[in-house]
């Protein structure tokens, strides 16, 4: 039903952000997902994060693959260009788009089937390349759109709605991203908006490959006892390591926690991530200890959430390959074409 236009009712009391937009301006078409789907909560969190960050909606490029999660870019940021690519291949399209115009904000939305199964190769390489983007995997451990088959993130021993036991060991996207060199790695839960919105904001502020694994229960096919991606399971086993606030410019901290519990990480754009530690022994700036922590707690059946790793001095792909500041799509023939006299010289060298 996405061809139905969503009624645009502009309530006069809707507040505008610094980009002169109300929250409404960040919305998209009516979602066609099932009532209660975790993905819709993530869409809402994206809307809120973009609005709070004063992001100009048309300066966002939202890209996805194929699947339930990949349908969602139609349901937020209606004034952004969107691209529903092919199954598992959004990362390469996003990479190419980013090369063409480094000035936009790139938001990649994918699912666990899209990124961990068919598209794991592209997921791996987009992280390695440090593409400046926010990459969200809406992780429900199941193929929803084809009605309930296991995905590669489903835990070993968890059961499907029909009672089949998953025999294969799971791929942990967070561990993978950490190992691959992603410079911002977080995990959250679609049912925890307080945690999720600041994480998306922090990912937007980050320059480099930012990865968010968001556990997002599938109410239709993976929300039963025996599933480790159900609302109940995640609520019971959620081990948040920290809570963050994103502050646009460095301001004086109004301390409401004990000293030693707050860590500040300044980002490239001048914004500051204020991390409130929930686990005293967790250091979100150490990739190796983060990998250890995540693995140890996963072995105990816990779902570690929060900002797991951030490298605030990260560079992105454009820095790595030394590209010009001007967006490629603005370069003119005068800049790009060496011209006839150069060609004469080339001809002369070939005789």
């Amino acid at each position: 039903m996405t061809y139905l236009a969503k009624p645009k009712l502009h309530h006069p009391s809707l507040t505008e952000n610094k980009a002169c937009h109300t929250r409404r301006d960040y919305e998209g078409r009516i979602s066609t997902l099932c009532a209660g789907c975790g993905h819709d909560s993530i869409s809402a969190a994206i809307i809120q994060a973009c609005w709070e960050m004063d992001v100009e909606p048309h300066r966002v490029a939202k890209l996805s693959g194929i699947g339930c999660s990949s349908k969602t870019p139609d349901y937020f940021l209606g004034n952004s260009h969107g691209f529903n690519t092919v199954h598992g291949r959004m990362p390469s399209v996003l990479t190419g788009a980013n090369l063409a115009n480094r000035e936009l904000l790139y938001l990649g939305v994918s699912g666990d089937g899209d990124s961990a199964s068919i598209g794991i190769g592209q997921f791996v390489h987009v992280m390695r390349r440090g593409v400046n983007m926010v990459y969200i995997v809406e992780n429900n451990g199941v193929y929803g759109l084809t009605k309930g088959q296991f995905s590669a993130t489903a835990d070993q021993g968890s059961t499907s709605k029909k009672g089949v036991v998953n025999a294969d060991s799971p791929i942990d996207m967070v561990s993978l991203a950490l190992q691959l060199g992603a410079t911002f790695v977080a995990r959250s839960f679609s049912g925890d908006k307080k945690q999720l919105v600041p994480l998306i904001k922090a990912a937007i502020a980050h320059k480099g490959a930012a990865f968010l694994d968001v556990i997002s229960p599938c109410v239709a096919f993976n929300n039963h006892p025996g599933s480790t991606k159900s609302y109940d399971y995640v609520r019971e086993h959620n081990e948040a390591v920290n809570r963050i606030d994103v502050i646009e410019t460095k301001q004086e901290i109004v301390v409401d926690f004990a000293e030693g519990e707050v860590v500040e990480v300044e980002q490239h754009d001048g914004s500051v991530l204020r991390l409130r530690k929930l686990k005293v022994d967790y250091d979100a700036t150490n990739r190796i200890s983060a990998m250890n922590y995540v693995q140890q707690h996963h072995a105990k059946g816990e779902v570690v959430t929060g900002l797991l790793y951030v490298d605030n001095e990260a560079g992105d792909m454009h820095e790595h390959i030394n590209t010009t500041e001007t967006a490629f799509n603005k370069l003119t023939s005068k800049q790009l074409c060496p011209g006839a006299s150069v060609l004469d010289k080339i001809n002369a060298s070939l005789r």
Binding site: H58, A97, F328
Partner: protein, 620 residues
């Protein structure tokens, strides 16, 4: 020289020399020096690498056709074999024409039974000469190649100064290497001058037949075309025989695409994880308004087909340079074919049709690569440049490259922020001009107008998701109309009329060109006249159907087994198959004039031309 029954071949500026080497032995640069020296004497040459899919130790050949008449196709047959590889000795000897010459290293005795008595044998103790002159084993090996060039230069009466000048150019910045190379050259020359009768029956004589033509590999030229055509993104995955195209793009960009002020690159090259990612990046960049291309070969095309379908359906500019090799599967990775015609023309599932360009030589590789970037933007669809190994990886003599300074980039139908602001109607998939081509916007153009959702699914003219039959039909019929519009935009076919009216014609394309031209000349000498049409693109303009209609029998000359262009002609025009006689060459070697000439005269002399027969390459 051994006395033989056969009269030694006598030829001036018209013979074939073949070097049989071991790959990784450093022979390539010496062989190229040999070919280029002849070229510098004003005599056209046409060299071809026949190489294995291997780095070191396997047989490799370099064939040089010396041709004052300018026949740049492969001739077939060898007049002088430089047999430097014991592994292939027997086969190499077999290839020599009766009365031809064998040049070999006679440092170690070879039993008489290993020779032929109808050829002329020239022995030079290359190993002995080098062992005496050098102590380092690598030097002994490398300079052996230059020593044989020196020996050949005396045997063939080549100008020494020309070779010395070329060596000087090559080692401009390395004087030490320059001296030692010149020294090695003279060791070879002196041995022949002292010990052997020279020159032999084959001779190079200074001529004036090269003009201002250039000597270049097609892959290099295509890369340069991409630079001139404004490509900023190149995403690729290494695959023979296309890799050197992406690598050439890199080196040209390092020279011509670095902003002098900032030192920053006005290009990006990504060696992707596979061909799927390569084409994905090109799709992403094209969607976002940058000119982007990939280089690949058959197996890469197979992997790319899903994305090619997306780019067709979602209408995204994409340029693919396909340097064809022998298929199917891994096939013959280092041999040439024109066997991806159908897989590219109809690539991907569902009803798809794609624009193909067929360059005949490096000059057209340059032109077609630049044109493909314009066409991709104009038509908002994938454009294939269908090169092949024969053009791509061999140096070919061709007309100098030209660029019209007044030519800008054709960015096609892109709606600007101003146009959107002024209230111009925007429907991403709306045909407003009647040519089937809609307008697009670049992401980020306007705060509230012109954004759209790109997808491979069916949509209405305003890019809204739709599963409605009429919306689907509007879209696919518009795509067909667009394909029809392409006919007038692509490079048009080249028709050459025979000297007299004839019922026979031939259609050919791509790297077949030089062999075809020579074959037509030969056939004409035998009083067989054919009109010819060289295809330069698909979709075929209507003039191709008209050309076929004007003739009783049309030979379709291709380098694949299944007559793929013929199938395409039959399928697109509904032509009576009996009219189109396939002439097919597909053993992996480039098609020759001899093959085409024989196949066509055999076919014409056959009693019943109405029964279509296939004339194929003979089993060796």
């Amino acid at each position: 020289m051994t006395m033989t029954m056969n009269k030694p071949i006598e030829a001036v500026n018209d013979f074939v020399v073949k070097f049989a080497n071991v790959n990784g032995s450093g022979s390539a640069s010496a062989n190229e020096l040999f070919a280029k020296s002849i070229l510098r004497m004003g005599v056209p040459v046409s060299p071809r690498n026949i190489f294995p899919s291997n780095i070191q130790g396997l047989p490799t050949w370099y064939e040089v056709r010396v041709t004052e008449a300018g026949h740049l196709g492969r001739r077939g047959g060898v007049d002088l074999m430089v047999a430097m590889n014991p592994q292939t000795w027997v086969a190499d000897l077999k290839e020599i024409e009766p009365g031809g010459y064998l040049f070999y290293d006679n440092s170690k005795p070879i039993p008489a039974s290993r020779f032929r008595d109808d050829i002329h044998v020239i022995g030079v103790p290359l190993t002995e000469i080098c062992n005496a002159a050098y102590t380092d084993p690598r030097q002994r090996q490398l300079f052996k190649n230059i020593v044989y060039v020196g020996a050949l230069s005396v045997l063939l009466d080549m100008e020494c100064a020309v070779i010395e000048k070329l060596i000087a150019e090559q080692y401009k910045s390395k004087p030490k290497l320059l001296d030692s190379n010149v020294q090695a050259l003279h060791m070879g020359r002196e041995y022949v001058q002292k010990h052997l009768s020279h020159p032999i029956g084959l001779r190079v004589q200074r001529a004036d037949k090269v003009g201002n033509r250039i000597f270049m590999e097609g892959n290099n030229a295509a890369a340069l075309g991409a630079v001139y055509g404004g490509a900023t993104v190149c995403a690729w995955y290494p695959i023979t025989p296309s890799s050197s195209c992406a690598e050439a793009f890199q080196s040209y960009c390092m020279k011509y695409r670095v902003d002098a002020e900032t030192g920053k690159n006005m290009y990006a090259i990504v060696q992707a994880e596979d061909e799927i990612a390569s084409i994905g990046m090109v799709v992403g960049a094209g969607w976002n308004g940058a000119r982007a291309f990939t280089t690949t070969s058959g197996p890469g095309i197979s992997l790319m087909t899903e994305f090619i379908g997306l780019a067709y359906m979602a209408e995204i500019p994409v340029t693919i340079i396909n340097v064809q090799r022998g298929g199917p599967s891994t096939g013959m990775p280092t041999r040439t074919q024109q066997a991806d015609i159908l897989s590219c023309a109809y690539a991907s599932h569902g009803d798809t049709k794609h624009v193909l360009l067929f360059p005949e030589d490096p000059k057209e590789c340059f032109e077609h690569a630049a044109a493909a970037l314009d066409l991709a933007d104009r038509l908002q669809t994938p454009i294939f440049v269908m090169s092949d190994l024969d053009i791509g990886m061999n140096q070919r003599l061709c007309e100098p490259l030209q660029w019209d300074e007044s030519r800008g980039f054709d960015r096609g139908k892109v709606m600007t922020a101003e146009e959107l602001e002024s209230g111009k109607e925007f429907g991403r998939y709306l045909d407003v001009d009647g040519d089937g081509i809609p307008y697009r916007t670049y992401p980020g153009t306007h705060p509230s107008k012109g954004s759209f959702f790109t997808r491979g699914t069916t949509k209405n003219a305003y890019a809204g998701y739709s599963e409605q039959g009429p919306d689907y039909l509007y879209n696919v019929h518009r795509l067909l109309k667009k394909f029809d519009s392409a006919k007038a935009m692509v490079p048009q076919p080249v028709v050459k009329k025979a000297k007299q009216t004839t019922q026979f014609a031939a259609i050919y394309f791509g790297s077949t060109s030089p062999a075809m031209a020579e074959a037509i000349e030969v056939l004409q000498g035998e009083h067989t006249h054919l009109d010819t049409l060289r295809l330069r693109a698909f979709p075929f303009p209507d003039s191709v159907a008209e050309f076929i209609a004007e003739h009783q029998t049309v030979f379709i000359v291709e380098q694949n087994r299944d007559a793929q262009i013929r199938s395409l002609l039959i399928n697109e025009f509904g032509i009576d198959p009996a009219k189109l006689v396939p002439i097919l060459h597909y053993d992996g070697t480039p098609i020759t004039a001899r093959f085409i000439g024989r196949a066509i005269s055999t076919a014409i002399n056959a009693t019943n031309l109405a029964t279509p027969q296939t004339y194929k390459v003979a089993t060796p």
